[in-house]
């Protein structure tokens, strides 16, 4: 049985344009699924639709169901705010592209991380403080106590994204949605964050829905991918199949572009060896 099942999802804007049409895919418990698309392809909207967080005026059709063992099956499309609020954080959790906007600039990091821990696990006082430190340590933040006392602007972009991940994991969600989580980061920091996500998702046997525009990044961390263009799925399958034998022209173009850039790097290595 699938943890997340998206069936015939459509999203329509206030003025009646179809932003996403007839999108279907499934994410099984403990697996990693990648959504690839360029700007305007509807990939981030898909994430919002799954969270029930579509901007006002947009309407979703079709079906998005979450099925967590022990918590029952829930239909997201058309669900009420109270039900959705219960799911957010516990069943599904998101990490966004820009951690600075996801964090409250006027609140110390420690308080922000404590918030979901307090709500979900009912921790108070010393136990809560220990849990915050543990959460920050889990995302490999050195000096967790210093970070906990800092405000978001006082730490680096990579550290902020680690904090955002710590908050997303606080309630041990069954599904983690990562929407372009490394796009705003330096390449070296990106590699670290990807490695961190990879480790955490495995350690907690969470499912991962990874959304990105960079084929190389997404294919490195997921095992199944779906390529979106203009709100429609053009290709999906196992990562190696899609990357090595893309069928749709657009998928071929994307893979070709990535290969072309890769080749420039490969030539360097060869030049050195010869």
């Amino acid at each position: 049985m699938s943890l997340l099942e998206v069936a015939g999802l459509g999203v329509r804007s206030a003025d009646g344009r179809d932003l996403i049409s007839d999108l279907s895919f499934t994410v099984d418990a403990g697996t990693r699924f990648g959504l690839i698309g360029e700007s305007g392809s509807g990939k981030s909207l898909t994430a919002l639709a799954i969270m029930g967080l579509l901007p006002p005026g947009m309407t979703a059709s079709g079906s998005v169901t979450l099925d967590v063992p022990g918590r029952g099956r829930t239909e997201i499309v058309g669900a009420g705010e109270r039900l959705l609020n219960r799911l957010r954080g516990r069943t599904t959790s998101v990490v966004f592209q820009e951690p600075l906007t996801a964090l409250d600039p006027l609140m110390r990091i420690g308080h922000q991380v404590a918030e979901p821990l307090r709500r979900a696990q009912g921790l108070r006082g010393r136990a809560l403080k220990t849990a915050v430190t543990a959460a920050l340590e889990e995302v490999r933040l050195a000096e967790p106590d210093r970070i906990a006392r800092a405000y978001p602007h006082e730490i680096s972009g990579g550290q902020r994204q680690r904090v955002a991940i710590a908050m997303a994991l606080a309630c041990r969600p069954a599904l983690l949605i990562a929407d372009e989580p490394t796009t705003a980061l330096d390449v070296t920091v990106q590699a670290e964050i990807l490695a961190l996500l990879d480790g955490l998702v495995s350690a907690h046997s969470m499912a991962l829905l990874f959304i990105g525009h960079d084929l190389a990044v997404v294919s490195g961390i997921t095992d199944h991918v779906l390529i979106l263009k203009d709100g429609k799925a053009v290709e999906s399958g196992a990562v190696l199949d899609v990357v090595n034998a893309p069928r749709h022209p657009y998928a071929r173009e994307l893979v070709g572009s990535a290969r072309e850039l890769d080749a420039a790097l490969d030539r360097l290595g060869e030049g050195e060896r010869s």
């Binding site: 804007s13 206030a14 003025d15 344009r17 005026g57």
Partner: protein
């Protein structure tokens, strides 16, 4: 300054609704032109022809509408229509005069502050804040104390108060435009600072500034009305709509037209000017004019 913030923070009309709004924009411009046009026409006519002499009090007090006084008379027996026509002239003069004065000073000061380096910018901003905190009426009284109370002194007072608001808005907008890469591109293309101001900064701040000036025009009309009531505006027999309103207040139940007529005209002028400014901005803006 919620109005200022609203204007500064307003999105540039991009979005799903922009296209449908675009169609109605030319309609608002037309309506605005008609509303303002009517007032301007009345003001122009008043220069050449009036139904009665302004000082003529022969009509009897607080007469209801009818012949020969189409809208009736006020509590001194003056013809209401005559007063309203003269009032149109005063209102337009007050609005236009203060907008020209306040706009000119405000935009120049705002540009200077926008370009200023750190400490100078701080000093200018502090001065502007003090000026904005200063009530317009108090400023008007100060101006009136040095000169005789007249339409000119009212315009100077309102214009000065307005200039601070315009300057602060301009400063913010200038800073925002200067942060764009196209300013740097202009510099690396060898464009001199004066030309950067004329070719890039002014065209990019003008849409927002002009809409704000239209808003200020309306506020200036209202401010002139208050100043006239306090005896700080145009002296009688130059009827101002604001003074007419105040004078007719006491007899609102006996002669409601005396309150309704100037009130409606103030609203018509203020709304009209705002519609014109709004519509004009769209006509002048390439990002709205050409949409594919």
């Amino acid at each position: 300054m919620s109005v200022e913030q609203a204007l500064v923070g307003a999105p540039d009309g991009e979005g799903p609704k922009a296209a449908t709004r675009h169609v109605s924009r030319s309609v608002t411009l037309t309506i605005g032109c008609v509303l303002v046009g009517v007032i301007v026409l009345v003001a122009v006519v008043s220069l050449f022809w009036l139904p009665f002499a302004p000082e003529d009090t022969s009509g009897g007090r607080l007469m209801p509408p009818g012949a020969p006084h189409l809208l009736g008379t006020d509590k001194l027996g003056r013809d209401l229509l005559t007063q309203l026509m003269i009032g149109a002239r005063i209102a337009l003069a007050a609005g236009a005069g203060s907008v020209v004065l306040g706009g000119a000073i405000g935009i120049v000061a705002g540009l200077a502050a926008g370009f200023a380096t750190r400490w100078l910018d701080d000093v200018v901003s502090a001065l502007l804040d003090i000026l904005i905190a200063f009530p317009t009426l108090l400023l008007a009284m100060l101006v009136a104390a040095t000169q005789a109370a007249s339409l000119t002194s009212a315009i100077v007072a309102i214009g000065l108060a307005m200039s601070a608001i315009v300057a602060r808005l301009t400063r913010v907008l200038v800073k925002r435009v200067l942060a764009h890469d196209f300013i740097t591109a202009a510099r690396t293309s060898g464009t001199s600072w004066p030309r950067v101001v004329l070719e890039h900064v002014v065209p990019n701040i003008w849409p927002t500034v002009s809409v704000n000036l239209a808003l200020q025009f309306g506020l200036a009309v209202l401010a002139e009305a208050s100043l006239s009531y306090l005896g700080l505006g145009a002296p009688p027999p130059n009827a101002s709509w604001g003074r007419m309103l105040q004078e007719a207040q006491a007899s609102v139940f006996i002669a409601p037209v005396g309150v309704i007529a100037p009130g409606v005209l103030i609203v018509v002028l203020v709304i009209g000017v705002n519609l014109v400014a709004d519509g004009f901005r769209d006509v002048a803006d390439p990002t709205r004019r050409r949409r594919r």
